[in-house]
């Protein structure tokens, strides 16, 4: 049970390669923090620095109230779950879980009690005598979790623990890890490249790119108020639609003109901001999330909306919803509509969007204009 504070943490590899550039964050006790980003963004390196497996080049790391930069991994009071489980193949499940406690010279009966408790929580009591190779992927993952739980660490570190599981199991284990977090009431730091895991599990998400933090916020805020183009594109599935538009004045009204002259309307508030900041005549990125494009006949909007027109190239039925793929203004666009829609590939479609659901990003800095 502890806070984790990262102050100006940097990882510099020989040759002046910055894997992590100035990572600053205060992780509250009992938080579930998810570090997310594409591969090579520094998320795993950050986690490994917290774990003590990687040296911290610069900055200060506190776990609890203790500066732990020079404290070895075993004394940091952390436990880590690895992507490939890293179970000891020559030891039984029981011994795998007991190993860390044995090394700490804990009395045997206490070890036994803790291992059995953890096994009960994870429902692997019947597997205790088995060797890892006799377990399925999901069971191995549970053992790996169990090995972490028995230690009762202040902080749990998880490095893409679900990415080796098949899709169905991944969803199941996702909820189980969330439940586990509630039950254990300790701090979790979780690394993943999967934005769905980030959104569903994290109490706060840290989105990283090229060693830089892009945004730290709750899943909802990250989704609704992305600070920049990268975050907007990374979070959300299917991806947000991004178009290129030029800010133009048309009869006292400021709107965005796409490359093929299609106008995109925005709220009055936004119009004012654009004018005040001198965006007139400049290019911007225009983002609209697929679920904010509504098919006129199925889900009509009533006020403050406009329409764009497209021709469906591919229609995908996902079950409860349909994805329509279109080309608009030279860009691939996806609309996520209700599965009641009868439109199919080749059909023309009218899509409505609310003005306040249009995200604008600066063309140079890629920062969101608000």
């Amino acid at each position: 049970m502890a806070k984790v504070i990262l102050k100006g943490i940097k990882k510099i590899y020989p040759g002046n390669v910055y894997a992590v550039k100035d990572f600053n964050m205060e992780i509250e006790d009992k938080e579930f923090i998810v570090l997310v980003g594409p591969s090579g963004c520094g998320k795993t390196t950050t986690l490994r620095m917290v774990a003590g497996l990687e040296e911290i080049s610069e900055g200060e790391l506190y776990i609890g109230d203790r500066l732990v930069n020079d404290v070895s991994a075993k004394d940091r009071d952390i436990a880590m779950v690895f992507q490939n489980y890293a179970l000891y193949p020559h030891m039984s499940v029981y011994d795998n879980m007991a190993f860390g406690l044995q090394l700490r010279k804990m009395p045997k009966n206490l070890i036994d009690q803790k291992v059995k408790e953890a096994a009960k929580i994870l429902e692997i009591e019947h597997l205790l005598d088995r060797k890892p190779k006799a377990l399925s992927g999901g069971q191995r993952q549970r053992v790996a979790l169990g090995r972490a739980i028995v230690r009762e660490p202040k902080v749990f570190l998880m490095d893409e623990p679900l990415s080796n599981l098949d899709a169905k199991l991944r969803v199941q284990m996702r909820t189980e890890i969330t439940k586990l977090h509630k039950k254990l009431e300790s701090t979790f730091i979780y690394v993943t490249h999967d934005q769905v895991e980030a959104m569903t599990m994290g109490s706060r998400i840290v989105i990283m790119k090229d060693g830089d933090i892009q945004q730290i916020d709750t899943p909802q805020n990250v989704y609704e108020n992305p600070e920049n183009l990268f975050v907007a594109e990374f979070i959300g599935s299917p991806q947000i639609n991004i178009l290129h538009g030029t800010v133009v004045k048309n009869h006292d009204k400021i709107e965005l003109q796409l490359d093929d002259d299609t106008p995109i309307n925005i709220t009055e508030e936004m119009q004012k901001i654009l004018e005040q900041r001198g965006y007139l005549g400049k290019k911007v990125y225009v983002g609209i999330r697929p679920e904010h494009l509504h098919e006129r006949d199925i889900q009509p909007l009533h006020h403050d909306f406009s329409t764009i027109y497209g021709k469906i190239e591919v229609a995908e039925l996902m079950g409860a919803e349909k994805y329509f793929h279109m080309m608009i203004s030279g860009k691939q666009i996806i609309a996520r509509v209700d599965s009641k829609s009868v439109k199919k590939a080749g059909d023309d479609i009218e899509l409505n969007y609310h003005w306040n659901k249009v995200y604008l990003f600066d063309f140079e800095t890629e920062k969101r204009i608000i």
Partner: protein, 274 residues
């Protein structure tokens, strides 16, 4: 269907090849059971002797062979133990620690095993004479020099196969470097350890040149050397030579059969998802 036929043909070819390879050994064994009179002349081509006899074996065991076998066993065991231990530690360092010139060291280690033995016999003999080490079990030292490079190389390969996460996991669990080595790495690299040990043991057991040069006294003869001394002034006791060959081969045969089971390549399966 062609595949099946080809497969069968291939199988037959392998069996034939094996028979050719094993034939001399079988013939040596058969000869060892023939009385001296049947080894030469008309009886030589008979598969089974008319009057099979153990007289060569009896003669052999009355002689020096038991002592020679004992010497071989002691020298091989010392060398194997020493080589395996040193190679394990050296290979672990090469496989896991980060230091400058790692590749160069491995290359040099391998290069030393490329020297023809005959070129090093002279200097080593001189050294042994000066140190008064001839006719002793110190011969294990030059043997380990010969066996170490291969053992290190085999073990580096096996240690590299042990996933790094295993060690990191142990590190977080609280294991020291040594504890990680003995409790995690060694058990996982066991097939490699056995392979290195067996190769070392057999190569030492079969070594002849150094054994002949450094331990000329018959009380320190190893088995291979002892065989060559099975001769009189005008003749070679072929019956005893063949019997000795059989006797000397048996330990290596036993070792291979025994430890073959230990070389289980699948030991690490299930540890990590490949």
């Amino acid at each position: 269907m062609i595949n099946k036929k080809a497969e069968r043909l291939f199988g037959a070819a392998i069996v034939l090849y094996l028979l050719i390879i094993i034939f001399p050994f079988i013939w040596v064994f058969l000869t060892s059971l023939k009385p001296e009179s049947e080894i030469w002349g008309a009886g030589a081509f008979k598969i089974l002797a008319d009057q099979p006899t153990f007289e060569h074996y009896e003669a052999l065991f009355r002689g020096n062979i038991l002592n020679a076998l004992k010497n071989s066993l002691i020298i091989s065991t010392i060398t194997t133990t020493y080589v395996t231990m040193v190679a394990a530690i050296a290979a672990y360092a090469i496989a896991r620690l980060k230091f400058v010139g790692k590749r160069l060291i491995l290359a040099i280690v391998l290069a030393t095993s490329m020297f023809p033995q005959i070129t090093v016999v002279g200097p080593i003999y001189q050294l042994f004479v000066k140190l008064n080490w001839t006719n002793s079990y110190f011969i294990s030292l030059p043997y380990s020099m010969i066996a170490l490079p291969v053992a290190i190389y085999i073990l580096v390969i096996h240690f590299n196969k042990v996933p790094k996460e295993m060690e990191e996991s142990a590190k977080i669990d609280g294991a020291s470097k040594m504890k990680t080595f003995t409790d995690i790495i060694l058990p996982l690299a066991l097939p490699g350890i056995f392979t290195a040990a067996i190769i070392t043991f057999i190569s030492v057991w079969n070594e002849f040149l150094l054994a002949l040069t450094l331990n000329p006294d018959s009380s320190y003869h190893t088995a291979t050397v002892a065989i060559t001394f099975l001769r009189g002034q005008f003749q070679i006791f072929w019956g005893q030579v063949t019997a000795a060959t059989v006797v000397v081969t048996i330990p290596t045969l036993i070792i291979v059969i025994l430890f073959q089971r230990q070389i289980i390549s699948g030991l690490t399966s299930g540890a990590v998802k490949e």
